[in-house]
């Protein structure tokens, strides 16, 4: 009998304890070349005040145990290399292997940020080329590659806005943020020293223009809008929003986390955006690596260029490149050194692979999202009917009637061989199901996803308990997150916990 679930089966999988539980005194996983200078006794050299004893509880294991430990752990993860990872807003697309290869080349991975400029021209050319590509894609005027992730890009962007407003005499008080925004937007505004004013969405899920007009006053520094929005629709009146803001001397910040829907098709610089960031670990495919690293370059219009963080990449008269730290109006430095260079290398490798063909990736991403929408809209509630871009957002409204929530459906997807979609936000959709297939999914994979979602909808109707107790196929079931938070156990401790103290 063919299995009911086509996409996945259960298979034997290795169990594994904590690395500390495998430790035994004297085992070594790495050996060093012999010391070629006179040895020094640390305790004698540093003195009792500065010397330490051995690190208590530190693991002592062999190389093969390390290989097995982390190989076994890895088999407990889901990954893009294993299948579709339809996390809305997170843009989990294929991470090309060549990007990993080039980021590790001698002359790339080996370079020190303080080495002489004349010995860094290769690194600087990479930064310059990527900068030019990102400006061409976004239609903006100037850029910084320094921010380490989207949230840091947001902060950098708001600090730039603050700086230009200060230079005009008043940094202002408020940043307007639609209720559909990602959590980093309001969190960032506060760190930038602003108050957050939430802006309502209209019936279509777009920024409510009337409401916006109301709020844009002399104390408003900027509107932070995500476009396409977190419900996957294009903010059609964004240019109008820009005019409203500009008329009052405020600026328009665009969260570019969803550029996957626009690259090659439309440019924020053309529809009134003053500042924006990109998530290179999303749109430009540098791997997520289980949570990072990323990069969040910030693109600005000319007026903001003088305030860009240091260092700024400049081309000298002789055509050589250099990093300029002498920028009197700069907001300063948001991170040490030149940003997540290794991530930037990967993003450039990705961009060079596509060239102008990046539009095709965008088209395929939007095609996949709409294909899935088309095949699921009859079984799941679609709160906002506007055309979908790179992502479709359903709600669990129908399944809720049987007590089945978006989280239950998400967990049940695991049994069907998929990673769950995003359930966390936006706040304007209760029980949101944010589905972003990206361009990396074949029709076959999309069809299997549709089949899985329809089957789960069926189960939610006929056998809700099955869905509510999912997943049933994983080596551990749903975990007690409440207990985890109530009595946090955040580190392993040796039996004789005196040891760990050191």
């Amino acid at each position: 009998m063919p299995d009911k679930i086509r996409k996945a089966a259960r298979h034997v999988n290795q169990s594994e304890g904590l690395i500390f539980e495998k430790s035994a005194p004297g085992k070594r996983g790495m050996e060093l070349p012999p010391l070629d200078v006179p040895a020094v006794d640390a305790r004698a050299a540093l003195g009792a005040d500065f010397a330490r004893d051995a690190v208590g509880g530190f693991p002592e294991v062999s190389e093969i145990e390390v290989i097995r430990h982390f190989t076994r752990l890895s088999t407990w993860n889901y990954a893009i290399d294993l299948g579709m990872y339809p996390l809305g807003s997170c843009t989990m697309k294929y991470n090309p292997r060549v990007n990993e290869f080039v980021a590790r080349l001698d002359g790339i991975a080996t370079e020190h940020p303080y080495q002489p400029t004349e010995l860094s021209q290769g690194c600087l050319k990479i930064l310059q080329t990527l900068a030019k590509c990102l400006l061409e894609i976004t239609g903006m005027d100037a850029i910084t590659l320094e921010p380490a992730a989207g949230a840091q890009g947001e902060l950098t962007g708001l600090l730039l806005i603050r700086a230009v407003l200060e230079s005009r005499g008043n940094p202002r008080k408020k940043v307007l943020i639609p209720d559909s925004a990602h959590g980093t937007n309001p969190a960032t505004a506060v760190i930038a020293g602003y108050e957050v004013q939430n802006i309502r969405s209209d019936a279509q899920g777009q920024v409510d223009m009337a409401h916006l007009r109301e709020y844009v006053a002399e104390d408003v520094a900027a509107l932070m809008v995500t476009n396409p929005s977190t419900i996957g629709i294009f903010e059609q009146r964004i240019a109008e929003a820009a005019e409203i803001l500009h008329a009052k001397g405020a600026l328009l910040y665009m969260d570019g986390a969803n550029m996957n829907a626009l690259a090659g098709v439309a440019r924020p610089g053309d529809f009134g955006v003053d500042v924006m960031h990109l998530n290179l670990h999303k749109t430009f495919s540098t791997p997520h690596g289980g949570g990072g690293p990323g990069a969040g370059p910030v693109m600005v219009k000319k007026i903001l260029e003088p305030f860009l963080p240091i260092p700024v990449l400049v081309e000298k008269g002789d055509g050589t490149l250099a990093l300029d730290n002498n920028r009197p109006q700069s907001i300063g430095r948001v991170r040490a050194f030149c940003g997540n260079f290794g991530v930037l290398v990967r993003a450039l490798a990705y961009t060079l692979a596509y060239g102008p063909g990046i539009r095709q990736a965008t088209e395929d991403a939007v095609l996949n999202a709409n294909y899935i929408r088309k095949h699921l809209e009859d079984v799941f509630d679609l709160p906002y009917k506007m055309p979908s871009m790179h992502e479709v957002v359903f709600s669990d409204a129908r399944q809720k009637k049987n007590g089945v929530t978006t989280m239950d459906i998400a967990k049940r997807l695991i049994d069907y061989g998929f990673h769950p979609y995003t359930t966390a936000f936006p706040l304007i959709v209760s029980g949101a199901m944010m589905i972003e297939p990206t361009e990396s999914e074949s029709r076959e994979e999309c069809d299997l996803f549709i089949e899985a979602m329809r089957a789960i909808a069926e189960e939610a109707a006929t056998n809700p308990e099955l869905v509510k107790t999912a997943p049933h196929s994983t080596r551990v079931g749903r975990l007690d997150e409440v207990a985890a938070a109530r009595k946090p156990v955040l580190r392993w401790k040796p039996a004789s916990s005196g040891e760990a103290a050191d």
């Binding site: 790495m30 010391l35 990993e100 002359g107 790339i108 290769g122 050319k125 040490a336 392993w492």
Partner: protein, 448 residues
Amino acid sequence: MRYLPKSPSERQEMLAAIGALSIEELFASIPAKFRLKEPLRLPGPLSEMEIIDYFRARGAENSVGYSSFLGAGVYNHLRSVVTDALIQRGEFLTSYTPYQAEISQGTLQAIFEFQTLMCQLTGQEVANASMYDGSTALTEAVLMAERLTSRHRVLVARSVHPEYRQVLATFAHNLGLTIEEIGFNESGQIDAAALRAKVDDSTAAVVVQSPNFFGVLEQVPQLAEIAHSKEALLVVGITEAVSLGIVRPPAEADVVAMEGQSFGLPPSYGGPFVGVIATKDKFVRQMPGRLAGQTTDHDGRRGFCLTLATREQHIRREKATSNICTNQALCALAAAIHLCLLGKEGLRELAEQNLAKARFASAELEKISGVRRVFSGPIFNEFAIELPRSVKMVNTGLLKEKIIGALALGSFYPELTKRGLVCVTETTTREQIEKLAASLRKILATPL
């Protein structure tokens, strides 16, 4: 295009299924005037081999073939191919933040192990995984201290990495934090007397780094006592984490902000690295960044999940402890693997080798007339030297010998012209050190 798994006819069939006549139709909600008519002007498309050739060519324009004595927050340590092989497993490399615990146990357990390793190294009770880097970790540590003390004055040692202080300044500027800097004495350590004089009831934190920017170890217990005398918190930054193999951990600090690059991450022109904040259990709810905690499933099996998320932006939005979301997870994994490979003995031996190389290098250089050590305090693998000429001039000469010399301290500290920062690690060979000394001697011997 090789990354796109669709044939032309599949695209047509999918469009048909959607009921669209053309792909343009799917972009109809974008006002026509904003839709591009022309293809973007971008280089490419390039095949895999062309991409490799492009980056090989860029690499050749950099410093390959030079021996370097640069440290100053970025250290060249041995890395194992094992680490690289493991972090490149797709299951780690291409997975997202482990919000869905049931299919993310690999990443979650690894994070839990990373947190434990960081606690063991720093002598603290709890550590996060992770912050962007050491500089943002230090800044977040200060913001944490501000929240914990509800005070707004911060005293920062000038011997803290200059770029770290710049980052702190950028944040402080808008948050009404006032920052005052405390100088250093001839030992190269923070001027404790000056600090004691300055610390008061409005002081949120005292911020030092150890080993500091000059490579000198700070007297953490004493500094803690000074800070605590006014209920201020002591924040200790660490840029050279390998030092913890032999150097007393800053257990007395209230918050430790560490850069983990030394644990198996390549210099990579400044990133990606991995920042860590470690602190006391009682401060955990004000700590930013991700935490994995141990728990059980319905059948009592041990498992791990992200926890205390109420500190984070995706739950608390404007009330979050920080705006950080994506962090440096894969770098944290690399560091954890690297540390497991090194193990207790390996880490100690590694640190001892660094100390021994630094002692040897320092002795070799001090033999040169006109060259002397600037500071008398205890060092780990980095130290400042004074030269009879401008460091820039000397370095120009060294470059001819394929040597990247000392970092000119004058560019960060006006009063420290003719002073250079020299770093050696276990990867610096005796031969390289002797060549540096010989070249330096030669250069200084030639009259200007």
